[in-house]
Amino acid sequence: MNAPLTIPLQAKDFKSDYKPVWCPGCGDYSVLSAMTKALAMLDLRPENVAVVSGIGCSSRIPAYTTCYGFHGVHGRALPAATGLKVARPDLTVLVASGDGDGYSIGGNHFLHACRRNVDLTYIVMDNHVYGMTKGQPSPTTEPDWCSKLAPGGTGVREFHPLVIALASGANFIARAFSGDPNGCAGLIAEAVRHPGFSFIEVLSPCVTFRPEQRGWKDRAHPAPVAPTDDPARAARRLMSDDGFNIGVLFKGNRPAFSAGSTQCGQMQDLEKAFQL
């Protein structure tokens, strides 16, 4: 019997008919475009991919793809995605979040997802603000960013997600910029290919509440050094990072978590323990 014929898909095949409702000019459009390009580059099919998200502008993304999607609870995208990947290791699982959803409400889950090293790709669209709820400062907002909602700034130092990810055990760490959708697509594809927990922070400007972020296009630059697999070296680089180094910054070699690696017995034995 002949093998079924598979036709390579294009980025547009991963886009659904739902039109995004982000503000015109929002960086998240570009991330959606990069994500669909990456899935096409990886020669995947929508039925073999799940996109899981939390709450926020960026978390609308699952509906805009033709993949399986789960638009979940605020900050809880990672636990849902972890469960899905462990139960269905055959699926490629992408997790989408923003700086508020991912680093504040879901901050604790972020640490433990890095530590567990389940084979997920975590894409955080970082615009340093809570856009959907109209411009409150987020964990990555600069302490002196002055707005109506934070007169004089918060005075609180920013969260450093890449350093936190490294310290917590993420196996792949990269930074992308939405102003470079082709580069961003390449990084997402590389992150998916890399085993274990891959974390990509995408600088994705909020043109409504942080219009000055349009200037990020002049600040983003390729990382001057090749990625390292040495966490100590990566830590030094990330700690002195200017926040605009674009590229893969750390590529570890920890084996990814698998449900079979915990030696906790067969499913039948577990089921017996729950019998009344």
Binding site: G25, G27, G179, G183, K217
Partner: protein, 173 residues
Amino acid sequence: MKPKPRPAGQYAEFMARAYTLELEATERYAQFAEQLETHNNREVAKLFRKLADIEALHAKRILDEMQWPSMPALPPAYAWEGAEGPETAPLDAIHYLMQPYHALEIALRCEREAQKYYEGIAASRAPKQVRDAAREMAAEEAGHVTLIEEWMRRVPRPAAGWDEDPDPPRMNE
């Protein structure tokens, strides 16, 4: 699936690049049209749709000229001088209250960038066939610049405060 063969020679490579340049511009204009349709700025959305159609025609013309049934297999993304192709408008160039004049300003900038790009290749040490093709394309882009400039003269210039919205959909309270 067996990958398609790469087109032979620098001329084919140049034409494939030109095709990608047009395609990226098409996609961006279509993206702008979609964004403005969502935000009910139908007039400008229609204009961007038209610009996307024009760029798609240019792309198709390259395929026809090269007798390629589809884009030949090449690296998925070119390393342009900037992050995107010279004729691709920056994603953050639009505003939900923008007017046709603004859209044409964007198109004008893109056409000028494309013209500059081809002029650079025409003046380079590339093979003669590539330089000739680049010269031809630069002239074509210069023609588009003139067309858009004429178009802009027929469109009203936005008044000061065009982006002021007395009831903005998004503002911090």
